[in-house]
């Protein structure tokens, strides 16, 4: 997770499309959350969000709260399903991305962020959800292939 945060804060910026970057951190959090219980997922999401808040400018606790909630929802949604299911992983990633964006900008508006960019943030969230889903599909397929080879 620390490696994912370091990569997210340095290299991922170079692959931005229309100002939107894929979230390696969220993909790692969702990957972990769909494999463990909700409490561990929450702690993992809390730690990831805290690291992102530390590296951001004036976000307060917005990433902490939003990533924590996204991890909890990811853990709850994956109950009863196999964790290596590609549609499940992609679907949960999309929902987690949208929920995290909603909570993040809600927190930011409560912390005094100027209004007026709601439509732009919504479009960015949809694009980010698509990126993250593709990234999660790629990671799941690769992990499944390596897991099959190892077996």
């Amino acid at each position: 997770m620390l490696g994912a945060v370091a990569v997210q804060a340095t290299l991922v910026h170079d692959v931005a499309i229309r100002g939107v970057v894929p979230s390696v951190v969220l993909v790692v959090v969702v990957w972990y959350a769909i494999r463990v219980d909700v409490l561990r997922a929450a702690v993992y999401g809390l730690a990831a969000g805290l690291c992102e808040d530390a590296l951001s400018a004036s976000t307060g606790a917005a990433w902490t709260i939003s990533t924590l909630c996204a991890a909890i929802v990811a853990g709850l949604l994956s109950r009863g399903f196999f964790a290596d299911s590609v549609p499940l992983a992609a679907g949960v990633t999309v929902i987690a991305t949208l929920l995290r964006a909603l909570l993040f900008w809600t927190c930011m508006s409560l912390e005094g962020y100027p209004p007026g960019l709601g439509a732009l943030h919504a479009r960015e969230a949809l694009l980010a959800a698509a990126f993250n889903a593709l990234l999660m599909i790629a990671v799941t397929v690769v992990a499944r292939r390596f897991g099959t080879r190892a077996a």
């Binding site: 620390l2 945060v5 590296l55 912390e111």
Partner: protein, 249 residues
């Protein structure tokens, strides 16, 4: 525990200080960010050098000639300046800003704000609200300071507000970030702004006056409004920042 962490973070943000979690995290991540940035820059530099080899010799000869001419001009101007100073009885200060050189090593993780992370913090003398400039003009303001790194909010960020002046006619306004550009707002309707006008900083908390912000690329007037707005293209290429200078007021 979550509520405690969130409260600590929100309290730090409201009091405009660095939370202990953030101080520890930025200190640790500074090493990783510096290492990754150095590695990627090395690879990019190597590839660029190989691709540019054919034109390098030609550019080298041209630059040597320009350098020789500039050295001669510089010597002549220094002599003129010294002579003027001696005549006018003033002392010339060539170091207008005692700045702290820094390098951009990172970005906000989710690109939610237009900001960069630099490799200088409170240990190097950086303070919150210090201005940050590059060779072509202003870059932004320091928003948060850790022991070894600082976060700089760029002038294109939606939360950025800087007092600004149009150089040609000294018309005042506020330069507000608009994600990809800067908008010069609250300029009087009477001001005959034109495309190409240079916009510079006014005297403010973070910057001395006269530093380039950008160039007017469009104007917006309304018939029933008191003010007009100008779209300003930043003087600095904020997408290719590498080395900057932090200046304290």
């Amino acid at each position: 525990m979550t509520a405690l962490v969130a409260l600590v973070q929100i309290n730090a943000q409201r009091s405009k200080t660095e939370s202990p979690f953030a101080a520890v995290a930025t200190s640790l991540f500074a090493i990783a960010q510096t290492a990754i940035t150095a590695a990627t820059d090395g690879v990019q530099t190597g590839v660029s050098a190989i691709a540019a080899l054919p034109g390098l010799e030609r550019d080298n000869a041209r630059l040597r000639a320009e350098n020789a001419a500039l050295i001669a001009d510089n010597a002549r101007l220094h002599e003129l300046a010294a002579a003027y100073a001696a005549q006018a009885g003033i002392r010339i200060s060539l170091d207008l800003y005692h700045g702290i050189g820094a390098r951009v090593i990172g970005f906000p993780p989710e690109n939610e704000s237009r900001a960069v992370t630099i490799d200088r913090g409170s240990n190097a003398g950086v303070h919150r609200d210090d201005g940050v400039i590059a060779e072509q003009g202003i870059v932004g303001k320091v928003a948060s300071v850790g022991p070894f790194t600082s976060t700089v909010v760029l002038i294109t960020d939606y939360t950025s507000r800087i007092p600004a002046v149009v150089r040609r006619g000294r018309w005042w306004g506020i330069a507000r970030g608009n994600l990809a550009s800067v908008r010069l707002e609250y300029v009087s309707q009477d001001a005959p702004l034109k495309v190409g006008d240079v916009v510079v900083t006014g005297e403010g908390r973070s910057f001395h006056s006269g530093l380039p912000i950008g160039i007017v690329s469009g104007t917006q007037r309304g018939d029933a409004t008191l003010y007009q707005t100008a779209v300003v293209t930043p003087a600095v290429n904020l997408g290719a920042l590498d080395r900057v200078v932090v200046v304290s007021r």
